[in-house]
């Protein structure tokens, strides 16, 4: 399926949307398509909103953000996010990373909440009443709880999948498995479509099975400026450049006009980034593989 078709079919106004990926494999391609299709009133959830949610907030897609660390990793601030929060234009619901991971774990297991030892002595429960506690029926210990997060739609970028959506990821795994299993609908965007036999040859690498996938989209370089291990490196120069772009609303608008609204798809986006592929393409470092025989 094409990305425009997948977003048109599976992402709706008002949805709770998750585009996961911890630094690695963030589907900027899907985020840009959601901006182009002008989705509105979304509740965007992610541990680290990253540049993609900063762009979606700036483009007016978001009504609410659910998160645990809203910065530009290794650089500083997400300025569209900061302007929206400091101007009180965006509702926020804030956890820690463990809290967000626990919310996805509960959602994936279809439990109403998850318990964790956390938050004692912190001010987070004071500002987020959804962080509660429960008394352990076995030990009497007070444990923190967070509610399940069950998104309407989760979008995961991956290295490869087969046509039915059996999806393999290596490198940093983030919380994509839990987010996908927690979700009502799942869109997988991959660097490469492979034959089912490639998946079957190495089943331990499959993170998301076809059974929970609604759409498979092939979009090489779809995670840029984040990265795909074994395919291309993180574009740290762009993350640095985002500081100045996002700080200036006019520059941010120009960015969106040029690289999001101004292109039809990822292929056109890549045409506007001459030399990018050569600069970031991953070096070869293959592993030996294992014997699956019996």
């Amino acid at each position: 399926m094409s990305l425009p078709d997948a977003v048109a079919r599976f992402v709706r106004d008002g949805d709770v949307v998750v585009i996961e990926g911890f630094t690695h494999l963030i589907s900027f391609a899907a985020g840009h398509e959601i901006i182009r299709q002008r989705r509105r009133d979304l509740t965007l959830c992610r541990l680290t909103p990253d540049l993609i949610y900063d762009q979606m907030i700036a483009a007016g897609c978001a009504a609410k953000l659910v998160f645990s660390w809203a910065g530009n990793p290794g650089v500083g601030s997400l300025h569209a996010f900061r302007r929206a929060v400091e101007g009180r234009e965006l509702a926020i619901e804030e956890y820690s990373h463990f809290g967000m991971v626990a919310r996805f774990s509960a959602g994936a297991a279809r439990l109403p909440f998850w318990t964790l030892r956390d938050y004692e002595g912190t001010d987070l429960p004071r500002v987020n009443p959804r962080i509660k506690s429960v008394t352990c029926p076995y030990t009497g210990e007070a444990l923190a709880t967070v509610p399940a997060l069950n998104p309407d739609v989760t979008i995961v970028h991956a290295q490869r999948a087969d046509a039915r959506g059996n999806t393999q990821i290596w490198g940093l795994l983030g919380v994509q498995k839990e987010a996908a299993f927690a979700s009502g609908r799942v869109i997988v965007v991959v660097e490469e479509l492979v034959d089912e036999s490639v998946i079957r040859a190495d089943p331990n690498r499959t993170l998301i099975p076809a059974a929970i996938v609604d759409a498979v989209v092939v979009e090489p370089w779809g995670a840029h400026p984040s990265y795909a291990q074994g395919y291309y490196d993180r574009d740290n120069d762009f993350y640095l450049a985002w500081e100045a772009i996002s700080k200036d609303p006019a520059a941010l608008t120009r960015y969106l006009d040029t690289f999001v609204y101004g292109v039809r798809d990822r292929a056109e986006y890549m045409e506007k980034h001459a030399g990018l592929a050569e600069r970031l393409k991953a070096k070869e470092q293959r592993c030996a593989g294992v014997n699956y025989g019996y």
Binding site: T23, A70, H97, V101, R117, G121, G174, E178, N236
Partner: protein, 232 residues
């Protein structure tokens, strides 16, 4: 100096939860000097990472290549951190207060923030679960107020605060931070001027050694040649 002092806090064989910036430099320096068996865990899921370039984000691909294990984040927080396997955690923040509480969430009231900061990330649970916490932060009265505006990470497990002029330690577990060590050429008054409360000192202050030639060479030529995190 901060990176070298922080590195010396780490013992060989320890399991350390690493952050980006100076903590990452300190851990990699320790691993290349006195602590070759230091196990570095990054919250992104890389365990036993040996990055061949300076990672500029917590999820740099160089943390994966050549590491001992890569796990999902549910495993990082449940099987390593909550399980009690992390011996040392590094934290920093916009504000550190008299009791070692850290604020990385908001300056001003939460509902009407003067400055919205990134938030906790893993910092809340690192402060709660790592067996000891090392804070790395530069001194200034704004950065070291008497009370933080928001407690992101509670200070109970803070063992040492490594600043750019000297070292502070709690007076007993969770107690008030007091000055315990000075860098070469720094007077106690210089440290006190950088703290927003009346800082007490231990009766005898340690004089901390400057970085050795080997430490400096590793930091400047191998670990951070582009001086992303080192000032000089």
């Amino acid at each position: 100096m901060m990176a070298a002092v922080a590195a010396r806090e780490l013992a060989d064989g320890e399991i350390v939860f690493v952050g980006i910036g100076l903590p990452n430099l300190a851990c990699n320096l320790a691993r290349r000097t006195h602590a070759p068996n230091l196990v570095m865990i990054y919250e992104s899921g890389a365990v036993g990472a040996t990055p061949s370039r300076l990672p500029v984000s917590i999820g740099d691909p160089a943390l994966v290549t050549g590491s001992l294990m890569v796990c999902g984040m549910a495993d990082v927080f449940q099987l390593f951190l909550q399980n009690g396997r992390i011996e040392v955690g590094f934290l920093g923040g916009a504000q550190v207060d008299r009791h070692g509480n850290i604020n990385t969430t908001v300056i001003g009231p939460y509902e009407r923030p003067k400055v919205r900061l990134p938030g906790s990330g893993g910092a809340a649970e690192i402060a709660i679960h790592a067996q000891r916490i090392l804070i790395v932060s530069k001194l200034s009265p704004r950065a070291f107020p008497e009370r933080v505006d928001f407690v992101t990470s509670p200070g109970q497990r803070v063992q040492r605060v490594i600043t750019d002029k000297g070292v502070l330690e709690p007076d007993g577990a969770g107690g008030e931070l007091v000055l315990t060590g000075l860098y070469p050429g720094v007077a106690a008054a210089d440290v006190k001027a950088g703290v927003g409360w009346t800082l007490r000192s231990r009766p005898s202050l340690a004089r901390l050694d400057p970085p050795t030639r080997v430490e400096l060479q590793l930091l400047r030529e191998v670990l951070d040649p582009e001086r992303l995190y080192l000032k000089s």
